[in-house]
Amino acid sequence: MKPTVFREPHEPQLPAPNNKESKMAFLIPNFDLAEKIGQDKVEINAATVDDLVKQAESRFGAAFTEAIKRSTLVVNGRAVSKLKGGRTPLKPADSVWIITPSGGG
């Protein structure tokens, strides 16, 4: 039987991120927001989550406000409601993701 022929990768494989060099926190927008703002990773110089939200609102306007409605903000994997809410401090290389309810198997 002929072996399967595999195509070249669809897109070049990106190297593993090296967030440790960053002096700022990262906002990881969800897909819809990323498409609107043209970025899938945004560096923001913010001391707290509230600060990050304010700056992102100022930069991206309604697109961002809409994206975080009924979403959970997560800092380094932990929901901000389980940390210090909007006062959760951020340090360089911290990642803040926007996540929404999901489900499946």
């Binding site: 897109e11 009924r70 994997g77 929901a79 409601s81 993701w97 309810p101 489900g103």
Partner: protein, 624 residues
């Protein structure tokens, strides 16, 4: 006689060619319903302790439930039950597609296959009966080609080359769906059974059609309007989960070395839907259509589920969606479980990274994987090791601490360090490291309500509830996705940062003792839709209490079977990496299983060795 059943089951001996009626007592139907419940009962009763999964005497059971073949939403699934060659434990694997309905309409509830043929065969089931036919010309064909050989109206359950070559996680394929886990395809291959096909037009009797019909319309409408079953799942498929688990440090990265990687944004369900989705695909009579139809090499094919995106994506350093499409199609066509395949590849890559194995694999360049997937199905070179699964690979090469399996079954794509209850579920689920025989992570981290994933409070109770529910669903047979609509739609509109959300999640978190009482109470009500469907179809009242009790009974019988086969409390554990290594700032160590397991045993009615006590067995009317 009860409605829903065809009252016909067959015992097929491939060694002798004998086909005889298989009697399933009314008592067993009442206690176990069908599907997984009947499958486990038959496995226990028809095999002796210590039997090898590939032994001639091993049985392979294909079962349906009383609602199978009706138009009850999400009911067209079948269950395959046997002893797993991957784990040595009981395994029930379910699949969608159309085989379940066709089997029922051929007039059959259950097929029990035993023995071994000396040449490849297939089984044909029609209204006229069962025949064993020659499959010599089919042997060696991949799953799609095998299915294409049979007439279109037939429902089919087939194996590919992986099953023929006894890959320990070989699957059974039906249309584009798969009974994936635990190597059920390998047991089928060991019997030289290439396929089972079924066709018929018999009607399935619904005892109370005047109540059933409007109810079916009501529930279908409800499911279609629900944010999960009518929104997220049809729109994005199970792939919708990637963004959540990557955000929560729960997606496996580089063999579970990490829980997140920003590059996961390239393999999300949203990206798949926006850039590649051609159509939504569903199982027969399912209104949800969670399947993804994507174009690959110019033809429409099945897109990957969440598990495949995790295990053949981030777990092996691959963030290229099209590659995942290719490898997913390859695994399906060769007839292999993508979870175990991805788990094995992740493990082999880390072994290579550590210099414990010589291979071309690396997390920086996963391109050798495609060829290795084929090599696994044909047991060539390193593929021969991969075909044995992670547990056996670690016995050969070392690396036990990062061999990510439970009881020999490779873990799905939810890192339990991000959801402790799911960790307890992995450790105690009877078929091994599995997420769909409970899905506690839906309540902790993935779904609309996140019940503090890093707390151990109430988790034993939630896990028991979820496991009992899943076992009841698999015995009816309903798809587990239907249970996601049990959380009402308005909950999805809550602000996760708001006070009401916090109140609700805190109440649940502190409700452990109350939940424990509820779990022991047989509620005489009918609050869900599953028990109503069962009642209207069978013509016999099933309460919510009955429904959950059936699930609890089936779960305990599985446990008894495993104990009979040599499993102990020592097997209720997690890999060292997941117990010891933290992936969260401010949290030391991994899953605190030791804080949950004793309470779990207690509320289950088991002793400290994890053995169901006599009172529990008597209460559940389990004979063993």
């Amino acid at each position: 006689m009860l409605g829903g059943y065809m009252n016909k089951a067959y015992d097929i001996n491939l060694s002798t060619g004998e086909i005889k009626d298989l009697h399933i007592s009314r008592e067993d139907r009442d206690l176990y319903l069908g599907g997984k419940g009947i499958g486990v009962r038959l496995l226990y009763d028809h095999t002796r302790p210590g039997l090898d999964p590939y032994d001639e005497e091993m049985v392979l059971i294909f079962s349906t439930g009383p609602v199978t073949g009706t138009s009850a939403p999400q009911s067209n699934r079948f269950v395959v039950t046997t002893k797993s060659p991957l784990t040595g434990a009981v395994v029930s694997a379910t699949s969608g597609g159309n085989f379940a309905t066709k089997l029922k309409k051929a007039g059959v509830d259950v097929l029990l296959v035993r023995g071994k043929s000396d040449r490849p065969v297939y089984i044909e089931v029609t209204e006229k009966g069962v025949e064993i036919k020659d499959a010599t010309e089919l042997w060696g064909l991949r799953a799609a080609a095998t299915q294409a050989k049979f007439p279109k109206p037939y429902g089919k359950a087939v194996i590919g080359p992986a099953g023929e070559n006894l890959v320990r996680f070989a699957a059974i394929v039906s249309q584009e769906r798969v009974a994936g886990r635990g190597g059920v395809g390998a047991v089928m291959g060991s019997k030289k059974l290439k396929a089972i096909i079924a066709n018929g037009k018999k009607q399935i009797e619904i005892r109370e059609p005047e109540r059933y019909k409007p109810f079916q319309k009501t529930i279908t409408k409800y499911l279609l309007s629900h944010p999960m079953t009518g929104g997220i799942l049809p729109r994005l498929g199970t792939a919708n989960i990637v963004n959540t688990t990557a955000g929560r440090n729960m997606i496996p990265v580089d063999n579970f070395q990490r829980g997140t990687d920003h590059r996961a944004v390239n393999i999300t369900g949203e990206r798949l839907a926006a850039k590649h989705l051609e159509k939504q695909v569903g199982c027969m009579s399912c209104p949800i259509n969670c399947g993804r139809g994507i174009k690959l090499n110019g033809k429409l094919t099945k897109g990957p589920e969440y598990e495949t995106l995790g295990l053949l994506g981030s777990n092996v350093g691959n963030y290229d969606l099209v590659r995942i499409f290719e490898w997913n199609e390859l695994c399906d066509d060769l007839g292999m479980d993508t979870i175990s395949m991805g788990g094995g590849l992740g493990f082999a890559t880390e072994l290579t990274q550590r210099g414990m194995l010589q291979s071309e694999l690396s997390f920086e360049d996963p391109s050798p994987i495609g060829k290795l997937i084929e090599d696994t199905a044909y047991r060539r070179g390193l593929g021969d090791d991969l075909a044995e699964g992670v547990m056996r690979m670690s016995q050969k090469y070392g690396g036990k601490e990062f061999a990510i399996h439970v009881k020999g079954m490779e873990l799905p794509a939810y890192d339990p360090r991000g959801c402790y209850g799911q960790g307890l579920e992995y450790a105690t689920t009877n078929r091994g490291g599995c997420h769909v025989q409970g899905a506690t992570m839906y309540l902790e981290a993935v779904g609309p309500l996140s019940i503090d994933p890093h707390s151990t409070k109430a988790k034993p109770e939630l896990v028991m509830l979820q496991q009992n529910l899943a076992a009841a669903l698999a015995s009816s047979v309903f798809c587990i996705f239907s249970s996601y609509a049990m959380i009402p739609g308005p909950v999805f509109k809550l602000d996760p940062q708001g006070p009401l959300y916090n109140i609700i999640t805190n109440v649940v978190l502190n409700s452990g003792p109350l939940l424990g009482v509820v779990l022991k109470t047989k509620a005489p009500l009918q609050l869900l839709w599953f028990e109503k469907f069962l009642s209207y179809v069978m013509g016999k009242k099933v309460t919510m209490g009955d429904f959950f009790e059936i699930g609890e009974r089936v779960f305990n019988l599985e446990r008894i079977y495993n104990i009979r086969e040599g499993f102990t409390a020592g097997d209720d554990t997690l890999p060292e990496r997941l117990l010891r290594e933290s992936t969260y700032e401010g949290i030391e160590g991994g899953v605190p299983l030791h804080k949950m397991l004793p309470r779990y045993y207690k509320i289950r009615g088991w002793d400290k060795r994890g053995v169901p006590n006599k009172k529990t067995l008597d209460r559940l009317s389990i004979r063993a």
